[in-house]
């Protein structure tokens, strides 16, 4: 019988309360040392061959008969009122099938902050119109024939300026999200300052970073009668389905969203995009399928970013390093629109034991491209500030940075008062320090200066319900896992196959996994917040368990042996009552096309503990004081995300997170012309992401201890944790090398030279 219960779940630094329907009996997690055959093994990706042969069909590869292409006209102004749009010349160009704009489309509200085609544009890149044509080339030609008359409005690009009373307003209701800061407070800050023997403070600035997933955002829309099918490069097919149905007034069963393979998202593809709705409308108007894929420049304007921040941080401590007070005031540049602001104060609230804490976050609208989630939103920025200032505190107290962190180790979740289900941070510190050789840094030689730095990581990664799965056992003894999650490049399909094989007792090659289709799949949450495996994995295990029970029941009757005597391994049924093991296929062959269907659902999270992930990273850098160049020599990363299901694909994620973190620390920044609001490096030539030549030696290891309270796998997420401490560890290593701190990211050569007084 289904049971409805209310639970609290943490997602990217905020606690959500939701109702969850629980079905059936929960499963006990595997014992920590249970002999598992597939779970815990470095099995290569089951969809590796598709991806390595070019056969994997990404959204941008979908080509349908009669398909048209859409190209979006974007605002050249950071803030303007559209007085007139004349599309006549564009419409007359041979090959143009439709031009969509506010004139001929419904007024569809987007994020309650704008419309699909708004009369006001609020950043350079905001959507104005869309040409649907026979080819991309024609669509591009036609864009130049659309005549738009703009009335430029005053604009504001800088979040600090945007908070001034006389600043131009991005939205009529003001520039501060929700009209007030998001404030958290515990203890008594004044008492904390009074008790402190030393106080350190600093203003930290972080840049606007661009995702630049290799596959741009895009959709292909097809109408068949009154049913809309959309192929979308998204991290949440069910979210896109819900959004399309709501905005277009369609019932859910008439909207099908498909995404089989995706070329990266990193948070920027969490939500429904305007291009998807425009493609659907364009397909409706023309009666033909429509494909809209953003180009690299649009990607860098309109597809989201990690917003810039200004963080004033202050820490008070006693002589022995015990923290007494911590205060953060953070300013985040939302851009023109904002759905889910990052939580910059998370690390300050959670990472260290401190009785008196206040964090205040001002999320500010500006006339710039809208923010979106970007791999551990807020925590990457917040950790840079917190861990930098912790090192300054250590320096002031003449303590080893690691010693200071251990001194303030938090044994429980101070925001809720609950204990952590497990916390392996101490082991991360200890093993990481040993592997790295902390704190004995090598002497600087010649003109190069060497430095050591480290930083810690905290993040949720707990997963959440609802998530559902089916496991069907086919008559030939093979099994198909069906769910509605998405593999955004993390190896989800492989991990789900391992879980199903383990629970069923089938070989890996007997398992296939079907995901990424809302019509045939079951609901699964967005692939974000490091929660895919911890949300969907337990549901798959439960479905496999259910299927296995049914198989045992059937086999016992077919073979006429006691059910309790039967076990399954390697796809064979064994029993002392049988002469020899018998394959599942043999058992099922007399039952014609009988099919076993196992059902599974994600259970609620425990309410008496906090389920989090932890980690620590250590960095060694060399700095050239003549040129200001920073070279990261090596990174040692230790993370605790509960049970490791696949050490091979997991290590790929950890390495990838560190490399992205390195780009964020040293190279990446969106550069905007302050007079025009135009992004001047919105491409991969001038926006510098790391190349193979920039990658240091990386050594990563896991604590790999199952979290028995987290879920029936004991596993937690690992997608975001590795990017969180990297920039902070590198910044600390640079400060160690230079003897002076750089308070701003990225740590470019000019900033290094400036810090050394060599401007």
């Amino acid at each position: 019988m289904p049971k409805v219960i209310k639970t609290k779940t943490e997602f990217e630094g905020r606690t959500l309360e939701e109702y969850v329907v629980v079905e059936g009996e929960g499963l006990e997690p595997w014992e920590p040392h249970a002999p598992l055959k597939f779970v815990g093994k470095g099995i290569s990706r089951i969809d590796g061959p598709e991806r390595a042969t070019g056969k994997a069909l990404y959204t941008c590869d979908v080509q349908l008969p009669g398909m048209l292409y859409g190209k979006i006209l974007r605002s050249p102004h950071p803030h303007a009122k559209i007085k007139k749009i004349d599309t006549h010349r564009a419409e007359k160009l041979p090959g143009v099938r439709a031009v969509l704009s506010s004139h001929n489309t419904p007024k569809i509200s987007f994020r309650r902050q704008t419309f699909l085609f708004d009369e006001i544009v609020r950043y350079v890149g905001d959507e104005v119109a869309c040409v649907i044509a026979d080819s991309e080339e024609i669509a591009q030609d036609a864009l130049e024939l659309i005549e738009v008359e703009y009335e430029p409005l005053p604009f504001v690009l800088d979040p600090e300026e945007a908070l001034q009373p006389d600043a131009p307003k991005v939205h009529s209701w003001g520039n501060l999200l929700n009209g007030e800061p998001e404030v958290y407070e515990r203890g008594d800050l004044n008492r904390g300052w009074a008790e402190a023997h030393v106080i350190v403070e600093g203003t930290f600035r972080t840049q606007c970073a661009l995702h630049n997933c290799m596959e741009p955002h895009g959709s292909v829309a097809l109408w068949e009668g009154d049913t809309l099918t959309v192929w979308d490069s998204t991290q949440h097919i069910f979210g896109v389905r819900e959004g399309l149905a709501r905005l277009l007034g369609l019932p859910l069963h008439k909207v099908r969203v498909i995404k089989k393979y995706m070329g990266g998202g990193f948070g920027s593809k969490n939500n429904l995009g305007k291009y998807t709705v425009i493609a659907a409308l364009g397909a409706k108007v023309t009666g033909r399928p429509v494909k809209i894929i953003l180009d690299r420049h649009e990607e860098n304007l309109a597809a989201g970013n990690r917003p810039s921040s200004v963080q004033h941080l202050k820490i008070g401590a006693k002589h022995d390093g015990t923290l007494t007070a911590l205060e953060l005031k953070a300013l985040v540049a939302a851009g023109a629109y904002c759905l889910w602001p990052p939580s910059l104060g998370g690390p300050a609230r959670e990472l260290y034991l401190c009785p008196n804490v206040k964090t205040a976050q001002y999320t500010v609208f500006t006339n710039t491209g809208p923010l979106s989630a970007f791999r551990a939103p807020g925590y990457v920025e917040g950790t840079f500030a917190l861990e930098s200032l912790m090192d300054e505190l250590a320096k002031k107290l003449a303590l080893d940075p690691l010693e200071l962190r251990l001194k303030n180790y938090a044994e429980f979740d101070q925001t809720t008062g609950r204990p952590y289900s497990t916390k392996g941070l101490r082991e991360c510190y200890e093993r990481g320090a040993k592997l790295f050789g902390w704190p004995k840094r090598p002497e600087s030689s010649g003109r190069f200066r060497r430095g050591f730095g480290m930083a810690s990581q905290i993040w949720s990664g707990n997963g959440m319900p609802p998530a559902y799965a089916l496991v069907k056992i086919n008559p030939d003894g093979s099994a198909t896992v069906i769910t509605g999650t998405q593999d955004i490049g993390t190896g989800t399909k492989t991990v789900l196959a391992q879980i199903a094989a383990e629970e069923l007792g089938f070989p890996m090659e007997k398992i296939s996994v079907e995901i990424g289709d809302t019509q045939t799949g079951l609901y699964a949450p967005l692939s974000a917040g490091s929660m895919t495996v911890a949300s969907v994995g337990p549901a798959v295990r439960m479905a496999a368990h259910d299927a296995r029970q049914q198989l045992l029941e059937v086999a016992a009757q077919v073979l006429e042996v006691p059910r309790e005597s039967l076990t399954i391994s390697d796809g064979r049924l064994k029993s002392p009552a049988l002469k020899e093991p018998i394959t599942v296929q043999e058992v099922l062959k007399n039952l014609e096309n009988f099919m076993i269907i196992g059902r599974g659902a994600r259970e609620p999270n425990p309410q008496d503990v906090t389920v989090n992930t932890f980690g620590a990273q250590f960095a060694e850098v060399t700095v050239d004081p003549e040129t200001g160049a920073v070279k990261v020599e090596r990174i040692v990363a230790l993370h605790d995300s509960g049970r490791v299901i696949n050490p091979l694909t997991l290590s790929s994620q950890v390495e990838g997170g560190i490399i992205q973190g390195l780009g964020y620390a040293l190279y990446e920044q969106r550069v905007m012309d302050r007079n025009t609001g135009i992004v001047v490096n919105g491409n991969l030539e001038h926006y510098k992401i790391p190349t193979v030549l920039d990658v240091p030696e990386i050594l990563c290891d896991m604590i790999d201890r199952p979290d028995l309270r987290a879920n029936n796998l004991g596993a937690k997420g690992v997608g975001e944790p590795p990017i969180i401490p990297t920039a902070a560890a590198i910044a600390n290593a640079v400060a160690d090398a230079l003897g002076v701190r750089i308070f701003e990211l990225p740590i470019t050569r000019d900033r290094v030279l400036k810090a050394l007084g060599k401007e």
């Binding site: 061959p49 990404y58 080339e137 630049n212 070329g263 690299r296 091979l648 991969l684 790391p690």
Partner: protein
């Protein structure tokens, strides 16, 4: 000694367009006659006209390498070549690597080393490795890194891509040794 003034070479000028023009592309050994607009890139021709979507369009301006294919054996960014420039020439794409359903050793190495995450840059990476190993079967670590420095991977699979390239070189050497042994046995 007086030298004869070199005769100016006669330039062969082919006027193409406006409108579509016929070209021949030899892709993975197969000749294709295609009608293309002169402005159409090789990448668009492969993807849209020939349906070979393995090479990816990630930037369309020669900055990422996701569209790397081999033109007469040399790696190029397919987005930076016009299809008409490749008239009559030989191309190798990711689709031509696996033979009769058997993965090429480079593909095998990429899968085994987990040298891919989202896989979007992978066809380009693999073709860049192919070009390297065709011309330099035993590359050093540095040579591998140089050869792949024009292929971006945002997931950050670089360490494993390098490992896969080195492993592929070993696999290919072994395969060639086996073929040699086989041919001498026969």
């Amino acid at each position: 000694m007086a030298t004869k003034a070199a005769r100016p070479k006669r330039l062969k000028v082919t006027v193409r367009g406006p409108g579509k023009t016929q070209i021949q592309l030899i892709v993975n050994g197969q000749a294709h006659e295609v009608l293309v607009e002169p402005r159409r890139t090789l990448l668009d021709t492969l993807r849209k006209d020939l349906g070979l979507t393995g090479a990816k369009n990630a930037c369309d301006e020669g900055t990422c390498g996701a569209c790397t294919v081999l033109l007469d054996g040399k790696p190029i960014y397919a987005c930076m070549a016009l299809a008409i420039e490749c008239d009559g020439r030989s191309l190798e794409t990711i689709e031509g690597l696996a033979q009769a359903g058997k993965l090429h050793p480079i593909q095998q190495a990429f899968i085994e080393e987990d040298a891919l995450q989202c896989g979007f840059c992978t066809p380009g990476q693999i073709m860049a490795v192919k070009a390297l190993l065709d011309s330099n079967p035993k590359p050093t670590l540095d040579e591998v890194k140089r050869a792949l420095s024009g292929n971006l991977c945002r997931c950050g699979a670089y360490l494993k891509i390098v490992k896969a390239a080195l492993r592929a070189a070993e696999l290919l050497e072994k395969a060639q040794g086996d073929t040699y042994a086989q041919s001498h046995k026969d």
